[in-house]
Symmetry: C2
Subunit: 148 residues, 2 copies
């Protein structure tokens, strides 16, 4: 066998395992999200808005999703163009933009409900292992995002 044990081997890198798994899962979402007319980051923004129910500032969405305004501003503009969200000024602080759902944005939730279960069925682990993995990933995100 030629499998090496170098510390730089791809198969030994947790960073690469994360990177590859994340991209693979996002690709799997694509065929489902195409039917909703959403990209994956757009879907995440919609999840955040459905979850919070009240209009959110760009910074609040960024905290929820781990993204900054340079990423979110164009994503939100495209969601606005598709008529799913509105971006109005905060009356009490004109620097802030409040991102709220339109009726069409709220209605889309019913369709989106069916997406996760289709994907979840393909995950190779279930139940306890699934939740343990979620917890570990949460710990990693927190550990590495603490210094931002």
């Amino acid at each position: 066998m030629t499998a090496s044990t170098s510390p730089l081997d791809l198969d030994n890198q947790l960073c690469f395992a994360l990177y590859r798994a994340s991209h693979a899962v996002v690709r799997a979402y694509k065929s489902e999200l195409d039917q909703l007319g959403l990209t994956y980051p757009q879907y995440l923004v919609m999840l955040a808005l459905w979850q919070e129910s009240k209009p959110q500032g760009v910074g609040q969405l960024g905290d929820l999703l781990g993204l900054d305004s340079g990423t979110l501003t164009p994503v939100l503009r495209r969601l606005e163009q598709r008529g799913l969200v509105v971006r109005r000024r905060d009356e009490h602080d004109e620097r802030r933009r409040l991102i709220g759902l339109t009726d069409a944005g709220r209605d889309l939730r019913a369709l989106a409900e069916k997406v996760p279960e289709k994907i979840a069925a393909r995950f190779p682990m279930q139940g306890k292992d699934y939740h343990q993995l979620m917890a570990q990933l949460g710990d990693i995100a927190q550990a590495f995002d603490s210094d931002r």
Copy 2:
């Protein structure tokens, strides 16, 4: 408490946990990789080349990394511009490009050796949990990449 249990909640989505953790770790690599003059995907390509030792075709690198030529071609061009790789034609099949390391590319490995340990020290789990997580992520990548 206001924590909801909707199936669409961000905190219940394994896809989001993966997405967030992966981006957080890539960001953590940035400060280390800046010192090598590499981006994260460029670093992955170098890992693949260091590991294989023989020049690789674009498609072979793509299989190793889970990326296609649309992504790899410009990455490889930039690595060539920095003098780390060469891209020559395969004499026996002029359609193929063989990507090989330059002396500078080989030399960079010594510096890169020190990167993973600095990052690994920050992972909130070690030993057994670490390896179990690696295995689970590998299973996910395989399960979702099988249909490409």
